[in-house]
Symmetry: C5
Subunit: 104 residues, 5 copies
């Protein structure tokens, strides 16, 4: 899985029937220091994420293993909102109640 930040949303009304009801999020990939890498992806939302949230997303066939995405032509899914992570014992990110700034 990779870490991303939700930066936008995408709307598509003319689509395969299997895609009805999808909310499509645009993610920017983050590295483990919380910096944007420049890469992006469009992912289906399985957890009610919104712009600004730091999330975990899965790709490939694994993206079809949530209740919302099963048997759909979806190759990327947001399946968790990240609370925090740490590297070598140091906290690198902690979610704030208002989706606020990075932890120091």
């Amino acid at each position: 899985m990779l870490i991303g930040r939700v930066t936008g949303t995408l709307v598509a009304s003319q689509k395969d029937v299997s895609l009805e009801g999808f909310k499509l999020l645009i993610l920017r990939q983050l590295d483990v220091e919380g910096r944007e890498t420049g890469a992006h992806v469009v992912a289906a939302d399985a957890v009610g994420a919104g712009v600004g949230d730091v999330v975990l997303w899965a790709s490939g066939s694994s993206a079809r293993q949530t209740e919302m995405t099963r048997d759909r032509p979806c190759d990327a899914v947001v399946m968790a909102i990240v609370d925090s992570w740490e590297i070598e014992g140091a906290q690198k990110y902690r979610k704030t109640p208002a989706g606020g700034p990075w932890a120091s």
Copy 2:
């Protein structure tokens, strides 16, 4: 999923029987600002897209989850035509009725 613009079509008459009836589109990948990245792919069309359309496409086994592509040797499918997207609250793309210019 990734965003692309349909730039061409490809014809192949000598092919595996499972490919009969496919319309094959050539896509150029777009970044979230709507710029071409230089990458391209050949994808099966599941939504009636045409040259000039900005589309959403899926890859891998997920490309076989549309009605048209099920159980076929297809690893990329156009499964939606994009209406619009926005990043950090700013609209980056909006489809015009004639498939016209980018929104400002």
Copy 3:
């Protein structure tokens, strides 16, 4: 799917039983202008392609969806020989009867 040109063949006699009967082709990837990108892959042949042919190939689990490759440890398959393609209305490639030069 991606476009490639068949440049060679590979022989392997000591192999998993599920690979019996495979013809293995070496492909060089082409971009949409018909130029070699430098990347290559070894793919199973599902359509009777030969050296010099410009072909379409699929990767991943989709490579197992032809009659020849079903349930085999094959992650790349040539499933079509390309007749022609065009970009923005201009023909970029057209197959000649003798597998000859590129169309102008």
Copy 4:
């Protein structure tokens, strides 16, 4: 499969139900000399690995083939803790009882 070193952990409380009970590890990829390549990934833990362990991880649908990850939206899994490896007859890594320094 690729070799990685566990460098951290990630917590996510708001997630798809299929992810309950997962322990999420942050890995840094190692090359065959044991050097970090700069790439990282978030993987589910199937073997009780901890920070500092050198592990083997699988990606894609193969990541769902452990007891812990079956049918879950998981595209990366740690499925073994590495004891040692050698290249051209020379030992490049050997696990020490305390998870200590690299073998010379």
Copy 5:
């Protein structure tokens, strides 16, 4: 599929039960001229390959289609030992009885 040379072996005793009995090989990727590209991968052995052998390996879900790897968390498998290949009519590699030097 891609071509690689077996350069080493890896041992892991603490692993998911589904991995019992695997022999893990370290491969260096070769290009079609027989040169190392610098990339490597750890693959399960399905054909009795040893250090020095030039092999063909498959990745992703296709790596689970051999007798040895079915339903296991394995995303790379060596499923053939290469005898020879040729590019544009010129032999680029031929296996020697002792696993010896490259063909001229």
